[in-house]
Point group: C2
Chain length 229, copies 2
């Protein structure tokens, strides 16, 4: 037996696209104009088409909101399948996690904006739970993979990277050891260049880049864990 006659089974994809801006981890949401859940904020996404897999599908729907080429990372998050997650319909959602680096600023439609991932505005359906899952997945992976490359610009200073990690993780990280630890493990490579100092002066910071911009699992970075006491 295939889809129930009285209540057809639909499948949609949704994407929690995250970025760090001004020290805040943000998620992309658009405001629904029409019922159901008019006025509430929703994740980008849409129905799974007959001839595509979920990865193609999420890229296709994201293209309505943002230049997909500016996404530095996209991965499956989880399936959300509560029979009542969308009132009046039976729709299973495959959620994705997308990341945008700090040095690109994708233009988005008028109904779409960026909101603090820790405190989003009222969302449609279960989209708040999906945002939480995406945020938690990012935080977990930051400490045992090199996923930071997807949030950081192509070259950056140590203190700039520290700010990105602190914003994404939601707590301050000790910057002193970050260069040493990440460099020793081969995650960071110095470019040899230096950044211009800010207007307050200070020594110019050396620029680094991620050695490997493909996702790799590493030992966890103790420097990224919360302080013990």
């Amino acid at each position: 037996m295939s889809a129930n006659a009285t209540r057809p089974l639909d499948h949609e994809v949704l994407a929690a696209v995250l970025r760090v801006r001004d020290g805040v981890l943000e998620v992309m949401l658009w405001q629904r104009a029409l019922p159901p859940a008019a006025g509430r904020w929703a994740l980008p996404g849409g129905a799974l088409g007959p001839d595509e897999d979920v990865a193609s599908c999420v890229r296709r729907h994201l293209a309505d909101k943002v230049d997909v080429a500016q996404l530095s990372h996209l991965e499956q998050l989880a399936v959300f399948s509560d029979p009542h997650r969308v009132p009046g319909r039976r729709v299973v959602a495959t959620a994705f996690l997308g990341l945008v680096p700090t040095d690109v600023d994708p233009s988005v439609p008028a109904d779409t904006g960026w909101h603090a991932a820790d405190n989003p505005p009222p969302t449609a359906f279960d989209h708040d739970a999906i945002v939480r899952r995406g945020r938690d997945r990012l935080r977990a992976k930051l400490s045992y993979t090199n996923l930071g490359f997807a949030l950081a610009p192509s070259t950056f200073t140590i203190s700039g990277l520290r700010e990105i990690y602190a914003a994404a993780l939601g707590y301050d990280v000790a910057a002193t050891n970050m260069q040493r630890v990440l460099t020793r493990r081969g995650v960071l490579t110095p470019t040899g260049e230096a950044s211009a100092p800010g207007r307050a002066g200070g020594r110019p910071a050396a620029l680094y880049r991620f050695t490997d911009r493909s996702l790799r699992v590493t030992d966890p970075f103790a420097v990224l864990r919360p302080p013990r006491r």
Copy 2:
């Protein structure tokens, strides 16, 4: 628009249920008697019902093959959605990873058996890829979570635990430090009891148990990583 009229969209759940037996990581498969893919081996699972989420669904279908209460762990793995993953139908699968401890031996139907997860017999559809994903997820999580509790019996010796980890990971692990490292981190707790020695003699081994049988993320266990050289 809901499901395409000419090619209805179905959703199924599948479970890669793994266990360690005699030093081998095994997966539960049943042999299909009827087309399509008659004679090939398949993962347990079935269609998503109209009033259940995927977690309830996978437990319901697993109950046909095994006593679900004997599963020590069950988690979402990934969505498999290639439009041609099942010939002639459009069916999206949510795959789960299940684990069975070494000290229970669930009875299974006649068409169902356990096969080496590293080298399964010819499978139906994309079930071999799902087995690989489940195996890889287990291996990754063994080294940064306490998921070992789900494979091990309720109490065990250090060398017994070493064998389980070695079988699941596919490579030998250094046993010398395992007790010290896992105990220091609070993952293992001595029960105070000792096991009877084997027939060849030897000092009786102390029995341990996992301190916390709920899944917790820990620092990775360096003792579980492959040797450096």
